[in-house]
Symmetry: C2
Subunit: 206 residues, 2 copies
DNA sequence: TTTAAAGTTGAATGTTGATTCATGTTTCAT
DNA sequence: ATGAAACATGAATCAACATTCAACTTTAAA
């Protein structure tokens, strides 16, 4: 049974087919971002989302098969947002070391401006781990490539690109957490300066 | 009402008063660590814990007022474990840079040997954020102090101790996640070597 | 040995919240 | 203008648990 999809089933939950539909789905996604971001996945009820979106409870299920699925949609949506945020902000960097400094500042600013989104990504580790792994793996791959390229250009010493990429990502994530989310009294570029000195010269004397 | 504590109330939930009691509370804590560690906070039921511990459901509440409270107990218990693990492993370091290398390796090994515990700490961010903040803040404080001391001894360039501490912690945490939890095919000391070169000399040429 | 305190038990309670669905409304291609 | 497909609605369903509690057993101090 259900061999061929000529049946009226709930269909494969495709795109909205109407302007109104798109608008509604969007309101729901926005609301979900806001609710998940402020209260977290488990504290957020579907009714919280629909109330914020201004639609009825059942409408949620017209667009998303489950609570977890909106969450996943959000995470990948935010992967794009983050990448865009960072890349536009380091676009003008003259070399890799400047790019690192700008990247760190951008990360902290992102965390600060989007505390909610930042939280969603982190919580993905426990709600949709594969999305989380993907999120950072994509980052790490492109980071690794950038380091390799910079080494080829002679801007940095070469080697250990992947390990360095993960180390640098971890750095940024934690700096974003500490100086973006937990404590936003500091100037992000100050932090970036402090840390980029470490990246340029290491901890060693001279 | 309940002005003075001469009443028989459930008392203030103090220590077990009996050898048997201590044993039981311990079995419960162990079981909780194992269950929370493998399934996470929300997927774990109190019955999972008591089943694993080999006690009746109600017994749980003799020792812990709520699910969240065992979780918190676990997090702070593990703060101690982690600190001990790291500090015994960097104890013999001749200087700060070696200590950093050993610390990174130790962190990765810790993550690998205690994947469960590692997960609990991270999940604390969403279950008991204040415990999480405390966990890393304690780390950061002692790290900051160590860096300052090392600078005083002339082992590293001085300055930006706090920012550096958070950056280094983030590094370790992510390396632990990547090369400890997600991918344990690599040799931790190899990773540590790769990254400690970065710490010693930075990315810069020369 | 006695017995009050400590510990153990698991059925019962009560709430919460995700998901379903039958019915009503709106859209838009014709 | 019209009707079939899309969309919207929210009351009802249903299962999952956290927590409580009254009855029972074990411990250990005197």
């Amino acid at each position: 049974m259900n061999q061929h999809s000529t049946l009226k089933k709930p269909k494969t939950m495709t795109e909205p087919r109407t302007a109104r539909g798109k608008r509604t789905r969007d309101k729901i996604l926005q609301a979900a971002a806001s609710e998940f971001g402020s209260k977290g996945f488990h504290e957020t009820g579907i009714t919280d989302i629909t109330k914020t979106a201004g639609v009825a409870l059942g409408t949620f299920y017209t667009y998303y098969k489950s609570k977890e699925i909106v969450f996943r949609a959000l995470v990948s949506h935010m992967g794009e947002l983050t990448r865009e945020w960072i890349s536009t902000r380091i676009a003008g960097a003259p070399d890799r070391l400047s790019a690192e400094r700008m990247g760190i500042a951008a990360f902290i600013e992102f965390a600060r401006e989007h505390k909610d989104l930042y939280r969603i990504v982190m919580e993905a580790q426990f709600v949709a781990n594969d999305s989380y792994v993907e999120y950072y793996s994509i980052f790490a791959e492109s980071y690794t490539r950038n380091l390799a390229d910079a080494a080829k250009k002679g801007e940095i010493r070469s080697g250990h690109d992947e390990e360095r990429a993960w180390a640098l990502i971890g750095m940024s994530v934690f700096l974003g957490l500490k100086y973006g989310v937990w404590d936003d009294t500091r100037d992000p570029s100050e932090i970036a300066d402090a840390v980029s000195d470490l990246l340029e010269n290491g901890l060693g004397i001279k």
